[in-house]
């Protein structure tokens, strides 16, 4: 009886989490005529027309390319700087670490609009609107606090004994960081990189402001601005949505353990 209840609960969870996504998947696999059926048909006729149109006519592949470049570059830049900053923070005395981390956490909660105007003018002044770098820079600024917070929480769980031993042996501080600490810290850095990548891939607000040229649009902007003039092409839009989610789904399936450990960094005792 208990097993049955648990099974029903799990099914309900799956339906809740996957339901809307499944409905979009079904829609994306319908032929254009079937999409317009009323009432909607629950089963697709398994045609790939919508995908073909989304990819070819609407240049969706280019948006995926833009997103890959921007999110990839922002991830590398963010994680590199955050790792450097998180190491000394994680080795700081406890009395100091609390307030500093509190500030970092507060910075990660800045609403985008409070910096949007000034950042926009800055980028315009530098001629960086509608360029990849023009989006990479604000993303790095936005993601840094979160990355520092996560990495500091990861790093402070790593034992200090190795570093202390190396110091006794006369290694300089940079040698300790690169030769002793970096190899141990690599998994934490990788985990943080996954999360920063997902957040950058999904970011919409700044992408909307900076990438006004359709050629430069990232995936979220392309999808948000997808609707045609008078009616929404739901089939193509669904196909685009599925394509946008595909890379993330693969990442989630392969890397779920790391994603969860990144999300819960700093919320439970290690």
């Amino acid at each position: 009886m208990r097993g049955l209840g648990k099974g029903v609960a799990v099914l309900a969870v799956l339906l809740f989490c996957l339901g809307p996504a499944l409905w979009i998947l079904v829609t994306s696999l319908k032929s254009p005529g079937l999409v317009d059926d009323r009432p909607p048909s629950l089963l697709p006729d398994l045609q790939l027309d919508s995908y073909r149109i989304a990819l070819a006519r609407r240049g969706f592949l280019r948006s995926i390319g833009n997103s890959l470049v921007v999110a990839g570059a922002a991830t590398v830049l963010t994680v590199a700087m955050a790792s450097l900053a998180a190491y000394p923070l994680s080795r700081m005395r406890r009395g100091w670490r609390g307030p500093v981390l509190g500030l970092v956490l507060a910075a990660s909660m800045f609403p985008q609009i409070s910096i949007a105007g000034a950042v926009y003018r800055m980028l315009m002044g530098m001629g960086l609107l509608n360029t990849h770098i023009g989006l990479v820079l604000p993303y790095t600024g936005l993601m840094l606090p979160l990355a520092i917070w996560m990495l500091t929480s990861f790093f402070s769980r790593l034992p200090r004994e190795l570093e202390e031993a190396a110091m006794v042996d006369g290694c300089g501080p940079w040698t300790i960081v690169w030769r002793i600490f970096a190899p141990v810290a690599a998994p934490a850095v990788f985990t943080t990189a996954i999360l920063v990548f997902i957040y950058s891939w999904n970011e919409f607000f700044f992408a909307l402001l900076v990438m006004t040229d359709p050629v430069m649009q990232t995936v979220p902007v392309a999808i948000a601005k997808f609707p045609g003039q008078y009616r929404v092409p739901w089939g193509e839009l669904s196909a685009a949505a599925i394509l946008a989610v595909l890379p993330l789904t693969v990442m989630v399936l392969l890397l779920q353990r790391r994603i969860v450990s990144g999300l819960t960094a700093g919320t439970t005792k290690g």
């Binding site: 799990v10 969870v13 799956l14 989490c17 809307p20 996504a21 409905w23 979009i24 009323r38 009432p39 909607p40 450097l84 900053a85 190491y87 000394p88 609390g98 981390l101 509190g102 956490l105 507060a106 910075a107 909660m109 800045f110 609403p111 985008q112 609009i113 409070s114 949007a116 105007g117 000034a118 604000p138 790095t140 600024g141 840094l144 570093e163 202390e164 501080p173 960081v177 999904n202 919409f204 607000f205 979220p220 902007v221 948000a224 739901w234 949505a241 946008a244 989610v245 789904t249 990442m251 989630v252 399936l253 779920q256 969860v260 999300l263 819960t264 700093g266 919320t267 439970t268 005792k269």
Partner: protein, 288 residues
């Protein structure tokens, strides 16, 4: 501090970046909020005029109101749904990897995509909700997103779908650190499941839930993507939120000075909330 000598140089790049892309823009926005600045008026110092206008702008105040309604109701629902999901999938053995991946999915999906999905669910002609409720009676189909109350509920529903999974993942990590022996002992002492949850499990996962709550509250007050995609504030600005309103003023309408004042207001609301929340509950989590 052992790393003292290299601590500052290591932190320097991040510090410079944070100053350039967070601190400077916020200060610059604050200064600009003291100017009339739009293509029509040109740029002219005006003291607190923009704030005076903001306090009398009924449309602005309505967006603040809905932002609070949205944030409070969606976060409350997400906390409950998240814990329920975590309880349901905790200690499931068959298909564990698949189930966990399914729970992460809503969190990983771009908010814009989630908004498109839900817009389609609530669609007046092809929406699955209309079909589920009214089947073949097409004349009964409702335009959910065209009415104030249902449009608001739709946006909340989309957020609850997307963010419950975040809460669930954090709650699940908390649940897995609850020692089995404790629950077993409570069971032997005759405590029923509900009682075991409230008196054993909940106190133990509370710190993790508080951090989830903090993140969710801050995030919910910044809602933008859902509104932009699902309703653009319609009908009659009833679903407009603070960040969307600020975006409209600052960019499409090019009222840079007034938009800056709106931005400062949004910043202050979120800053005050985050200070209050961190002070009351974040400290414990940070101190660890």
């Amino acid at each position: 501090m052992r790393a003292g000598r290299i601590g500052l140089p290591m932190m320097l790049p991040a510090l410079v970046f944070l100053c350039g892309f967070l601190v400077y823009p916020v200060l610059s926005t604050a200064i600009n909020s003291l100017y009339h600045d739009s293509p029509v008026t040109g740029r002219e110092y005006c003291g607190l005029d923009n704030y005076g206008r903001l306090l009398q702008d009924e449309q602005a105040l309505r967006t603040v109101e809905f932002t609070f309604i949205f944030a409070l109701s969606s976060v409350a629902l997400e906390m409950v749904a998240g814990v329920l999901i975590a309880l349901a999938i905790n200690r499931v053995i068959t298909g564990k990897g698949f189930i966990r991946a399914a729970v992460i999915l809503p969190w990983a999906v771009p908010t814009v995509v989630a908004a498109v999905m839900w817009k389609y669910v609530f669609n007046d002609q092809y929406g699955i909700l209309n079909y589920a409720l009214f089947g073949d009676s097409l004349e009964m189909y409702r335009a959910w997103l065209a009415r104030p109350v249902t449009a608001r509920l739709a946006i909340i529903a989309a957020d609850v779908w997307k963010a419950s999974s975040f809460v669930a993942l954090i709650a699940l990590a908390g649940l897995q650190s609850v020692p089995r022996e404790l629950l077993e002992a409570a069971r032997i002492d005759g405590a029923k499941a509900v009682k075991r949850f409230f008196f054993v499990t909940l106190p133990l996962i509370r710190p993790a839930l508080l951090v989830a709550l903090l993140f969710r509250v801050m995030d919910a007050f910044r809602v933008f993507d859902l509104v932009y995609v699902m309703t653009q504030g319609a009908p009659a600005e009833k679903t407009s939120v603070m960040q969307y309103f600020g975006y409209l003023k600052m960019f499409p309408e090019q009222q840079y000075g007034y938009g800056s004042a709106v931005s400062v207001l949004v910043f202050l609301v979120i800053a005050l909330l985050s200070v209050a929340l961190v002070r009351t509950m974040g400290r414990r989590a940070v101190a660890k």
